[in-house]
């Protein structure tokens, strides 16, 4: 188990969470503003809906909790986003999020880490978003000079 160290140490079977938090209007609107999503249903005053892409920042939430030492020696590069949406996440909703590293492999000189994340409604444990994230641990290939 590599939880408690660097993100780059994470290995298959490592689990982080569940962590509980409340989705705020500020978070929904700020994230959508940063991504130029200016639609009323994400920017409005009453019960904006979170974009499913916001689950990407739940990965960072899990990293901060499970990997307090930080990223590791190199900057990560996001490779793949894969979210299945089962229900809407509305502002004000109490949520839980948990992640598990399911794969770690090398391909063409780069190291990939796959984390499967589940975002659930806290009140009834309903699965709202199932997210599979694939990240490359460094842009530079192994063996290349720094």
């Amino acid at each position: 188990m590599a939880v408690g160290g660097y993100v780059s140490d994470l290995d298959v079977g490592d689990r982080i969470g569940p962590l509980a938090y409340t989705m705020s209007k500020f978070v929904v609107r700020e994230y959508c503003h940063a991504n130029e999503l200016h639609h009323a249903f994400v920017q409005g005053v009453d019960g904006p809906i979170a974009p499913p892409t916001l689950v990407h920042l739940d990965k960072l939430r899990l990293y901060r909790h499970g990997c307090p030492k930080g990223t590791g020696p190199n900057a990560r590069i996001h490779y793949e986003f894969d979210a299945t949406i089962h229900g809407a996440v509305t502002a004000g909703e109490r949520l839980t999020v948990a992640g598990e590293v399911t794969e770690r492999y090398q391909k063409k000189g780069r190291e990939y880490v796959v984390m499967v994340i589940e975002l659930r409604r806290a009140s009834d444990d309903a699965l709202l978003i199932a997210y599979k994230d694939t990240t490359v641990l460094a842009y530079r290939k192994s063996g290349e000079a720094a």
């Binding site: 705020s24 500020f26 978070v27 700020e30 994230y31 503003h33 940063a34 991504n35 130029e36 999503l37 639609h39 249903f41 994400v42 809906i49 979170a50 974009p51 499913p52 892409t53 916001l54 990407h56 920042l57 960072l60 939430r61 901060r64 190199n74 900057a75 590069i77 996001h78 490779y79 793949e80 986003f81 894969d82 979210a83 299945t84 949406i85 089962h86 229900g87 809407a88 996440v89 460094a138 842009y139 530079r140 290349e144 720094a146």
Partner: protein, 154 residues
Amino acid sequence: MSPRAPLMALEIGAELRSAPRPMTRERMRWYVDVQPTVAADDGRIHTQPPTIHDDDDYARKQGLPAIIADGMISTNWILGLFFDAFGPSLAEKGRLKTKYIAPIYEDQVVIAVARLTARTAQADGGFGYLFDVWCEDDTGKKLTVGDALIHAPA
């Protein structure tokens, strides 16, 4: 808003396309800044140490020629196509998958595209609409690829 009516009007092969947008330094930085801002969730803007998305020197130390965009910006621009066309339906049920196959550099022009590839009846009486999705530059080179499933209820 029900997405079914505008979806039903789409023929297989129909495309949704965004206007071309340059991936400016500011657009890259917005995604950098939103990460600690969301984490703090206190109504104020927060920043973070240099990243490969907002600091050229740091990016070069990581082996990149210059800063590159976070892939999630592409994913969100694709999501925006569906929000424009069908309202919030993809935030309620469906699937969005994107893979970042080429770096996006500062000021590179990006166009988000979704092409309807299939329409399938669902067990609940609704329909599923499957799209190929991608972002391309102004030469047609694909930068991000993937697919999306939009669910239209009965």
